[in-house]
């Protein structure tokens, strides 16, 4: 399983410790996000989170995402990236209203600083 697929799987599993670690590895590796190939998976949810995460990380690194991410549409139902959003009402509203754009447009809801690290 490649790093991007691991990243997407960790995000959907809400395994934030693993997600942090993978994002920091990717950021350190100075990869060109624009060159990343479209995953071959038939799983539309996995494809959507992959596209969202690549767009988000590319944006934060001031890079262009690959062209194929534009073809990936939203989920059928919203997905909250944080388990705590189920029990914390203000957090839920924060995620719904301020999720980073590459996530929100595909109905993935996260806090505004999601995956930001010093």
């Amino acid at each position: 399983m490649d790093q991007i697929e691991q990243l997407a799987q960790a995000a959907l599993a809400r395994d934030h410790l693993k997600l942090r670690s993978l994002v920091q590895d990717l950021t350190r590796a100075n990869i060109n996000f624009g060159d990343l190939p479209r995953p071959t998976t038939p799983d539309s949810r996995l494809l959507a989170i992959t596209a969202s995460l690549i767009e988000l990380l590319a944006l934060r690194q001031k890079q262009n995402p690959p062209v194929w991410t534009k073809e990936i549409g939203p989920l059928k139902e919203p997905f909250f990236m944080l388990e705590s959003a189920a029990s914390m009402k203000r957090l839920r509203i924060l995620c719904e209203t301020q999720s980073p754009e590459p996530m929100r447009k595909r109905l993935f809801y996260a806090p505004p600083h999601f995956l930001e690290f010093a």
């Binding site: 990236m81 203000r90 690290f117 010093a118």
Partner: protein
């Protein structure tokens, strides 16, 4: 050995030329085969003011202190990025809140909130307080 973190967040207060400390940290990295940026000062943008927390390391010529628990909690509430931050903040709040009222605790955090994230931090604090102690 299990690895729990990949770097150490630090703010260098002295000497004024942080480059000197970075050079020494690079030397340590070479000796231990660690990543060159194991001592990471990127978090300084999130540090508002300096609190004097517990001493964590002391040797001739060096003193390392942790921020106070109030400052750590304020930083977690300002960042509020994921369930890891929430879990850390919950533990910190349980320590900071011992025997105190909600508004007193909040007042002690306010000086350390990251500029621009004060409202997020306040909502985060209220959610967290309610999850631990109810809405009273």
């Amino acid at each position: 050995m299990a690895i729990f973190t990949r770097d150490v967040d630090a703010v260098i207060l002295s000497p004024r030329e942080a480059r000197i400390v970075r050079d020494l940290a690079r030397q340590v990295a070479e000796e231990h085969d660690w990543p060159e940026d194991w001592l990471n000062d990127g978090a300084k943008g999130y540090l508002v003011g300096i609190s004097k927390g517990p001493l964590v390391f002391q040797a001739p010529g060096i003193e390392a202190r942790a921020p106070s628990m109030e400052q750590l909690l304020a930083m977690k509430l300002s960042a509020w990025r994921d369930d890891v931050d929430i879990s850390d903040a919950r533990r910190l709040l349980q320590e900071v809140a011992k025997g105190s009222k909600r508004d007193e605790v909040w007042q002690n955090l306010e000086p350390y909130l990251v500029k621009g994230d004060e409202l997020t931090a306040q909502y985060a604090f209220l959610d967290l307080w309610e999850s631990l102690y109810g809405s009273d």
